[in-house]
Amino acid sequence: MLLIKCPYCEESRPELEFHYEGEAHIARPLDPTTVSDEEWAEFLYVRSNSLGPHRERWRHLYGCGRFFNAVRDTRTDKFIITYRQGEFPDHDSVEESRR
């Protein structure tokens, strides 16, 4: 079971309190009327499925109830960093947290 640090509660809690919400930072197209079928398919169904650091959303469902983001290494399942909505730690600061 994973131990996950909620960036709002600022506490590490067991995975059972959390719900995984899929890959993070996938923006809905701004103007749906101009989007082609291929672009819809990309938005709805295609995911990076990264081997290694993976940006993903979690929800502290049985805690504060809030959504947040995380970078987790999918090879080891180890969380590198968790961060609040609206934030986006760049590659360098993610690497910094890993050390």
Partner: protein, 417 residues
């Protein structure tokens, strides 16, 4: 290499079984092949076998980064059935089931296919209605599936407790008699041996690190840790690693990779005559020929390549099994392990061509690919050889994610994942 037979067994007894030939060669990779299959699991080896057997003479290689059958082929719960809801799926899985029936003879290798029946338990009116819908859909599609009363279910599987006062009473069951189990390792070994005899090069410890395209955009070669190999056509059958391999060719695939766990108990005497699944309680269980109870757990909730999962997932599976069969409460678990399953949104596989000419993909089998091994290999081989999807594979094209023509089997999974 001689066929396996009783006479061969007797002959080798005379030399203390010291002179059996290797089952397949370990060739060094040639600089070029007509077809390169990436992934030496059951599906990849079956693809190579049917390519060599059914189509014009081709020089074929299977590249496996580890050892053959070391991925999901050797990690699944070996259940075989074809009672899927939609006709496209029922046709594909039933095609596989028909090939299973004669597979040991065809490969001259005992894959221990045992059509002992797959029974799905109904615990509620909802279950009854859903199962009967499946049964009717299956019967219209020409796939056997029948409804059993609790008494009939108990006759078929005597360890069931059909007391109506249980927490999860058994109100009936759907039974596919032709379903069952097979020996998973033997499937990989049997296909490898048979493909090798037809001239296929099976190259283990050979990891593909890049896919090279020519000026025309078509696939030209694969770069591996054992050198560059030119290929006329490339088939990717890499299950949970498909996104990584296809990424090398610049193709994004609508799958995500999740951990899926299973476990076996210590071996006990024969007690469990068939496969039993209960979606409501979320357990499925069968007994291997060695006597171990084979139990499947759920997927974890997050994307992962770690081949391990949370202990609470396996605990939940055991709680469910004990709820159904309290007699197993004191049975000790021998091993537990995880695999990487490649899941699509409609829980159906992706088989066919890709935007890159000469590059083909067979993935997305998710939590239930083992049962399809022969059929998957057969239709994928035809797709590669003819550069045109086999008619059973046509509905499973990558393009369905754009057209929206999904084959939604999410509700048809025997145990929801």
């Amino acid at each position: 290499m001689s066929d396996f037979s009783i006479l061969a067994l007797l002959r080798h007894t005379l030399s203390n079984h010291q002179n059996w030939r290797e089952q397949w060669r370990s060739p060094t990779p040639k600089p070029n092949y007509d077809v390169v299959i990436i992934g030496g699991g059951g599906h990849g080896l079956a693809t190579a076998y049917y390519l060599a057997k059914n189509h014009r003479p081709l020089r074929i290689a299977v590249l496996e980064k580890g050892w053959i059958g070391g991925g999901n082929t050797g990690r699944n719960t070996t259940i075989i059935r074809s009672n899927y809801l939609w006709e496209a799926s029922a046709n594909l899985y039933d095609h596989a089931l028909k090939l299973w029936a004669n597979l040991s003879r065809e490969l001259n290798y005992n894959v221990m296919f045992s059509p002992r029946g797959v029974m799905m338990l109904a615990h509620s009116i909802h279950d009854e209605q859903i199962f009967n819908r499946h049964i009717h859909a299956n019967q219209l599609a020409g796939v056997d599936n029948e409804w059993l009363t609790p008494q009939q279910a108990k006759r078929f599987c005597p360890v069931l407790d059909i007391n109506p006062n249980r927490r999860y009473p058994i109100r009936g069951a759907a039974l596919q008699r032709r379903g069952g189990v097979a020996r998973h390792d033997a499937v990989a070994w049997g296909y490898a041996r048979a493909a090798d005899r037809l001239g296929v090069d099976i190259i283990q410890n050979c990891e593909v690190i890049d896919i090279e395209k020519g000026a025309d955009g078509a696939v030209r070669a694969v770069e591996t840790n054992r050198g560059r190999i030119e290929a006329g056509r490339v088939g990717v059958v890499a299950a949970g690693n498909t996104s990584v391999v296809m990424g090398m060719a610049g193709v994004r695939i609508p799958i995500e990779t999740y951990p899926l766990q299973a476990l076996v108990s210590e071996p006990v005497k024969p007690i469990f005559p068939c496969v039993v699944m209960s979606n409501t309680v979320h357990a499925y269980i069968s007994q291997s020929s060695k006597g171990e109870l084979v139990i499947g757990a759920s997927t974890d909730q997050y994307v992962s390549y770690s081949q391990t999962g949370g202990l609470h997932i396996t605990s939940h599976a055991l709680e469910a099994v004990n709820e159904m069969f309290p007699m197993f409460r004191r049975l000790r678990m021998l091993r537990t392990w995880g695999g990487r399953v490649d899941v699509t949104v409609d829980r159906s596989p992706i088989i066919g061509k890709t935007p890159v000419p000469g590059l083909f993909v067979n993935c997305g089998w998710g939590t239930g690919g083992f049962k399809a091994t022969p059929g998957s290999g057969h239709v994928f081989a035809a797709t590669i050889a003819n550069d045109e999807p086999h008619h059973l594979a046509t509905p499973f094209a990558l393009s369905r994610f754009v057209t929206g023509e999904f084959i939604d089997e999410a509700a048809a999974a025997a145990v929801s994942h």
